[in-house]
Amino acid sequence: MTTAALMLLCLATPAAVALLLPWLGSRPNVREGVTLCGALLLLLWVLILVPRVAAGDYSEVQLLVMVSGLEIAFRPEPLGMLFALVAAGLWPLNSLYSIGYMRGNSEQHQSRFYVCFAVAIASVMGMAFAANLLTLFVFYEALTLSTYPLVTHKGDEKARQGGRVYLGILLGTSIGFLLPAIIWTWAATGTLSFQQGGIVAGHVAAGLLPLLLAMYMFGIGKAALMPFHRWLPAAMVAPTPVSALLHAVAVVKGGVYAVMKVVIYVFGIDTLATTGASVWLIWVAGATVLIASLVALTKDNLKARLAYSTVSQLSYVVLGAALATSMGVLGGTLQIATHALGKITLFFCAGAIYTATHKTEVSQLNGLGRVMPFTFGAFFVGALSIIGLPPMGGTWSKWLLLVGAADAGSIAVMGILLLSSLLNIAYLTPVVARGFFMPALGEGRSRAGGIREAPLFCVLPPMITAFGCLLLFFMIDPLVAFLAPLIEG
């Protein structure tokens, strides 16, 4: 099969799942079977594509002209491929997990849930393979809209409020900043195609570059750069599988992926390094890293704590991009993959705890680790990876970011990174420590309370992703080699 056909299949497979599911609502087993098959097929297509892209096959497919002679077009390249791989690799696991979670909690409207999920994954694939800014924008918006019904899934007042913030910020920033930035780029350069080395150099005055960059960075609200981060905690009203795959992986990674894509292929690392247009961004991202970590410390609700942790970790990627050094960009890109694995593990565990015990606050978790050892063990591994301690995959992204900061000669950034790691320890390890070492709440009810390990469907996926964190530590070389073309030239 040609590369072009494979990319289209990557979009068509989840789209077909979305079209098929509404007719299967009355037969949940068939419905979930279709979702799983679709997820595995998608993974297969992506796995076939990876070696081709590694071999340098970046063939483009153009679908149709949409505006101003600009096409909806797809072209694979390492960064997008990595994003596609992360999303496609985690969708089957998340589908398994969803089955356990949605049934375990007897959620309503399960068909709508799976349909929107599949549409969101299709949008993610569209973003991952986008060959130009227009395509990226189209699927970016499609992702926002398809996840809105997921955020408001519960349908109560709190869900409505959360959905309002979610949609308001994401649509507001994308229409208010991103769209004019794209049109500006188009008006100035006459192209929107992603090109190695960037397209704006020589077309936009150097003095205006920081402004254009700001419109992109704040316009991509999914990257949750402060002060446009509020949607992420608000989105936590969604069912946990949604938080796990979409708001820890697909949607937020879509944001930082778009940031990287814009920095590498629209501005060009060299242009940013020579003009210094991204210096301000270092500070904004650095501040987001620290402030969000501090806020996470104050949150007792486990999902809220993880959400702020995500805000903080996302800005590592933005920081890597803003440093405009090879190692910074590489570290930031790796962070997309390592944080995805780590954070989805943590969310899976949070959901497993909720399914088994209906507890949502960190302070209620005392002693639960001894009843749910697998869940809490997986949480511990995920937490270590997020913090960046060996032997977990997260080590490498933090390491490369530090090297990148050193290359840029920025002691302050190194300081921020180290301080943030300490904060990560401070807000993540207590969860595990309470579970394993503190006496259970309510004297003598610890085991008799009827709390047991969560259903298999809820425990297996986090254990697999936790193992992935570990694996990534030892298997980082091929990944770095795969991403090497990003920083060539």
Binding site: L64, V65, M66, V67, S68, I72, F137, V138, E141, A142, L145, T152, G155, D156, E157, A159, R160, G163, R164, L167, G168, L171, G172, I175, G176, L179, P180, I183, W184, W186, A187
Partner: protein, 492 residues
């Protein structure tokens, strides 16, 4: 050859249908005839569009009298593009009207209603096809008078005052247009537009012609509801029967915008209108105020129909804004939005009509919970709303893109910002409805709404699919708008 008679057929088909409808006793047969004629006339419009797609124009001499003495119908890509919209909307709205009008009107008035609808339709088509300035006025009166009658048929008694208000303001507008045309006739002795365009060159430095220009500007802007001459519109749209609102919102103001383009670009010429008379200095500020203030007002409406009506005034502002740039790209954006807005507002008002049929109200709080009871109707409303907001993969996005690009190209950065800001305001007012419909809890005494009948859902979804399809494959709309803008700038 029948293909040579297409321009006159376009007007004659609905014109002859109107009195026949009035003779019918049965509302069903009047409706069936209207549907047949609307579809037939859509076919004619498609054929005309095909003829003009390759450039040039079709000229038709009424009664064989050659222009400039006789009345000439002259159709280029701009006319035929507008004809396509108007007849397309009629082909969709008239089938929809069957059930909707039955529920909203007394039985014995229904055949008369279809007569009025066909007359209004004739008038709008006539304004669009004709190449004769006085003929424009005649058709304008045909469409206006029948519009007043249709608005007055609304269920609410306030429809009468709304209609009366529109009657007064519409008549002032039509009179101003007539005065403008009369003054031009005095100076040139001709009414044929192409001929006028030539002869005005020699006399356009006279005060008479400038006064004519002023009268025409005000008259046409009244008909197209440019702020602050829009006062008739919100009431008229709110109280008219649902199908009438949908039809008027997607056609009547669009045809008025067409008149503006035809007079200012073809008859007076872009050079005179913009360089000498500084039309842009009048249109641009008014368009900006319309866009902003009307979006703001729409935010505070509790009646969904009235909210969409104010949104229409704001959207007309976008069209006029594009035109006021006086550039090819601005003009393209204006014409494109003229077409696209017809599609999105048509879809929204039709979906609202279906909601009215089932819930009996247009108040926002009465729509609580309809999202679950009428999933197809509300789904259509959401997609229409997304199109209005300008989300990618809908026609609204295409309009916004060209409009913002034209503003940036002309260096109007703050205007580009305002366009996007008002899109965000559209998010707010559309989402108020969406939230109530999906998350609201219906009142205990509210009637249990069920999904709308198929005869309404089909027309609604035809428009919804047009919104999506033409938002993805834009070769037809953008191609026609670009060509029309080029022809307008070049003149006949």
């Amino acid at each position: 050859m029948i293909s040579l008679q297409l321009p006159i057929l376009q007007v004659v088909i609905p014109l002859l249908g109107a009195p026949v409808c009035a003779l019918f006793r049965s509302s069903r047969s009047a409706w069936a005839l209207s549907v047949a004629l609307a579809w037939l006339s859509f076919g004619v419009a498609v054929a005309l569009f095909q003829q003009s797609w390759f450039g040039g124009y079709v000229s038709y001499e009424i009664g064989g009298w050659p222009p400039p003495w006789g009345i000439e119908y002259r159709i280029d890509i701009l006319n035929s593009f507008v004809l396509l919209l108007v007849s397309g909307m009629a082909a969709v709205v008239v089938p929809f009207a069957g059930r909707s009008i039955e529920a909203e009107l007394q039985d014995d008035r229904i055949p008369l209603f279809y007569a009025a609808l066909l007359l209004c339709y004739t008038g709008l088509l006539g304004i669009t096809v004709t190449g004769d300035a006085f003929n424009v006025f005649v058709f304008l009166e045909i469409s206006s008078l029948s519009t007043y009658a249709m608005i007055a048929l609304g269920r609410d008694r306030r429809a009468l005052t709304a209609s009366y208000q529109y009657l007064i303001m519409g008549t002032i507008g039509a009179t101003f247009i007539l005065i403008g045309i009369g003054l031009m006739y005095v100076m040139t002795g001709t009414l044929n537009m192409a001929d006028l365009a030539e002869r005005l060159q020699q006399v356009n430095n006279t005060r008479t012609i400038r006064v004519a220009f002023g009268f025409l500007t005000v008259g046409i802007c009244l008909k197209l509801a440019l702020f602050p001459l829009h006062l008739w519109l919100p009431n008229a749209y709110t109280f008219a029967p649902s199908a009438v609102t949908a039809f008027l919102a997607s056609t009547a103001t669009k045809v008025a915008v067409y008149m503006l383009l035809r007079f200012f670009f073809t008859v007076f010429g872009a050079e005179f209108s913009f360089a000498t008379m500084n039309l842009d200095l009048i249109l641009m500020p008014l368009a900006l105020v319309a866009i902003f203030s009307m979006s703001l007002v729409a935010l505070y409406q509790d009646n969904v129909k009235r909210m969409l009506a104010y949104s229409s005034v704001a959207q007309i502002g976008y069209m006029i804004l594009g035109i006021s740039f006086g550039s090819i790209n601005g003009l393209t954006a204006g014409i494109l939005h003229l077409f696209n807005h017809g599609l999105m507002k048509g879809a929204l008002f039709l979906a609202l009509g279906a909601l009215v049929l089932r819930t009996g109200s247009t108040q926002i709080q009465d729509l609580a919970g309809v999202g679950r009871r009428m999933p197809w109707t509300m789904g259509a409303f959401v997609i229409g709303g997304l199109s209005l907001i300008g989300v990618p993969l809908t026609v609204g996005f295409i309009s916004k893109w060209y409009l913002v690009a034209a503003a940036i190209e002309a260096g109007y950065w703050p205007i580009a910002g305002l366009i996007l800001l008002t899109s965000l305001m559209a998010v707010v007012y559309i989402w108020r409805v969406v939230e109530v419909a999906y998350f609201g809890v219906p009142l205990a005494e509210a009637p249990l709404a069920s999904e709308a009948p198929l005869s309404m859902l089909l027309p609604i979804w035809v428009l919804v699919i047009a919104n999506l399809y033409l938002g993805i494959n834009t070769s037809l709309t953008v191609g026609a708008a670009t060509m029309a803008a080029g022809q307008l700038m070049a003149g006949w």
